[in-house]
């Protein structure tokens, strides 16, 4: 095997893809989407409309004082929260107006003010409403669910306070007694216990897992279409007159794999950058002694190893498919069982996240076809015993060697076969034939 052939092929495969607009669109598109998904909603909400003025008519005379107290105490959920920072007042302003003697006339008048956009809504509080717990909220638009939920919560607090007071209970004391409890999740590792948010660890592991899954899928398919392209454009015969089919295939895998690795790195880096405002905001919520899930350099190294192994494993499958068939439709039909193998770990992912060290988790993550995805998932959750990681790497690497060897044989025969779609037994014969 000549290494210069492999690198020349790999270089072409890499450059031809990295130079396309489509590559940069998909590579930068994902972080932008993440950015949009994490920051835009809160950004939009915080930008939405100026102060909403709502008129409260309290015919009972009992709710308004409670409501004023509740409005003053409550932080605005649509704003960034930071304890200790100057609390931002809600953008919903309650205007308390005295009830008039002619209720019908006053209600008509209020409706008019709503229509003329002087106020955004008005709420009537009377004995009937207080008893039933249903308050009439009259506004031009009734779809502002964020505003409505704030109003609802404030009203509820006020009414609950009133009911408690009527029952002879001190509202402040009740609040203290009714406080809910939280789980303080602590990850126990070699370096000692560390408090962190369990859901964050799982989410991170799942994100890494899905990114790897997507990258293997996308770039594995690229290998297949690349080979089919060479077959249909018939350039392959010129290539195999100059380089060995094995060199050609290896160069392809290395080149396209590097493209995937480039994209993966860009995703990780940019996600880190673009989500940092969101993460910063999120950090403010955390208890002081909690930490974000941490991924050490060793874990990153092993994840990279599994990326490369996973890519080579599935790409060699895809390379064989591309070489064996004549067009993308034929190849994709046969690719279906392969994609199923790739999807199996996705079914098991939740169980592994829940209990990464169970026997099932350990066994599955050692099966070569599943290792790249499932061991990565376990690595992202917490470092498994090193021997398991190394064993998985060794088993997968051995399996990759066998796969690449078999794929290269199919490739060697297949790239010059046009016409008839080969059967599985024919493919097996291609592998056996020297």
């Amino acid at each position: 095997m000549r290494l210069d052939h492999v690198t020349t092929i790999a270089k072409r495969e890499y450059l031809i893809r990295v130079k396309t607009k489509a590559f940069w669109l998909s590579t930068l598109g994902l972080p932008i989407l993440v950015l949009a998904a994490t920051i835009l909603p809160s950004l939009l909400l915080s930008m939405s409309s100026a102060t909403e003025r709502m008129v409260i008519i309290d015919r009972t005379g009992k709710v308004a004082p409670e409501l004023k107290r509740a409005a003053a105490e409550e932080p605005d959920p649509t704003k960034g929260i930071g304890q200790g920072t100057k609390e931002k007042k809600s953008e919903i302003e309650f205007v308390f107006e005295a009830p008039k003697t002619d209720p019908a006339q006053q209600e008509k008048e209020l409706d008019r003010r709503v229509l003329e956009r002087e106020i955004s809504a008005w709420i009537l509080i009377d004995d009937a409403a207080l008893a039933s717990g249903r308050f009439s909220y009259r506004a031009r638009s009734t779809s502002g669910f964020v505003t409505q939920s704030i109003v609802e919560r404030r009203l509820s607090r006020a009414v609950q306070g009133l009911r408690l007071a009527q029952a002879g209970v001190d509202p402040a004391r009740t609040e203290e007694l009714m406080k809910s409890v939280e789980l303080d999740t602590v990850r126990v590792s070699e370096e000692g216990g560390q408090r962190e948010i369990g859901i964050a660890g799982a989410a991170l592991a799942y994100i890494v897992f899905m990114m790897l899954f997507a990258a293997i899928q996308v770039w594995g398919q690229q290998v297949m279409t690349g080979i089919l392209d060479e077959k249909t454009s018939r350039i392959v015969e010129v290539l195999v007159s100059a380089v060995k089919p094995f060199e050609l295939m290896l160069g392809k895998l290395a080149g396209i794999g590097s493209v995937g690795l480039t994209q993966f790195s860009i995703w990780i880096l940019t996600s880190a950058v673009v989500t940092s405002p969101g993460v910063a905001m999120y950090l403010a919520f955390l208890p002081k002694d909690a930490a974000l899930p941490q991924i050490g350099i060793g874990v990153v190294f092993h994840i990279a190893v599994f990326f490369v192994l996973g890519f080579f494993l599935f790409s060699s499958f895809y390379a064989a498919l591309g070489a064996a068939f004549n067009n993308i439709q034929e190849a994709q039909q046969t690719a279906a069982p392969l994609i199923f193998l790739l999807v199996v770990p996705v079914f098991f992912a939740p169980r592994l996240i829940n209990d990464p060290d169970s026997t099932l988790s350990v066994v599955l993550s050692l099966v070569p076809i599943f290792s790249p995805l499932l061991m990565t998932l376990r690595l992202a959750i917490r470092m498994p015993p090193l021997w398991q990681v190394l064993l998985a790497e060794f088993l997968t690497a051995s399996f990759v060697v066998v796969m690449v060897w078999a794929a290269a044989r199919i490739y060697r025969v297949g790239i010059l076969m046009y016409g008839k779609k080969p059967t599985f037994s024919e493919l097996a014969r291609w592998v056996r034939r020297t």
């Binding site: 092929i9 072409r12 031809i16 454009s233 350039i235 010129v238 007159s241 100059a242």
Partner: protein, 300 residues
Amino acid sequence: MTEILELLDVRKSYEGHVAVAGVSFSVPAGSIFGLLGPNGAGKTTTIRMILDILAPDSGSIRMFGRPRQEADLGRVGYLPEERGLYRKMTVLDQLLFLAEIRGIKRRAALAEIEPWIERADLGAWAKRRIEELSKGMQQKVQLIGAVLHQPDLLILDEPFSGLDPLNQVLFRELLTEYRDRGRTVVLSTHGMELAERMCDRICLISKGRAVLSGELATVKAGYGGNAYLITAEGDLDRLREVPGVEQVAITGRTARILLSAATRGADLLERAIPFLRVSDFRSEEPSLEQIFLQVVRDEA
């Protein structure tokens, strides 16, 4: 003269079907060698075996005076019948890539590419993508790609198919020049006229077997003496009915006729005079096409 390429009883069969049933020939250095034969005769399979793309079932292939070694293939250039280039690459990038897999460094490759591009009149297209080029232009790019590393042996599978007459002339000139620089060219074709104009030596393959080979002049001499040219007025078609006539090719008032070995020219003239007003009758060297047709027919 040293032999650049020698095939000895090379055979190849696919499941249940014999593609090449024992082909032997030798190609001397500094010549243009024609591998001739009808479609499906086994030319492409033979070429693929020469290039080690396919392994022969039996027989031996010698290259540059010794059993073929892997390194020898670096001294061979190849234009396959199934032509193709990377559609999305520019002409220049494509040629640079083809040079690079042949181990030529970028700068040297550029120096080599430029004159070829000029010669093939592709200067304005160098930075364009392959998919924007016409088929003929793509074929020129591919020919350049095959000669960039200055191979000692250039193998072309049906190089003239799909070319317009102008480009056919260009290809012919380029290949003749290449031969004149001391290199060897092997080309396969079923276009006998072109082969006749270019080749120094031929091998005729039919149904996987070499049925005729040697120097063009010798081959023709072997079949010479029994071809005639008649220019006459009257029903030239009736010549086909004359006993001993094997082939008749009519163009206008002229008929080229090949007689069986036992028939003499005088017999033909005697029989033709009753229905033709002959203005010219002469003996002619048989064309390669005539030989080809006769050999293939004899085979059948």
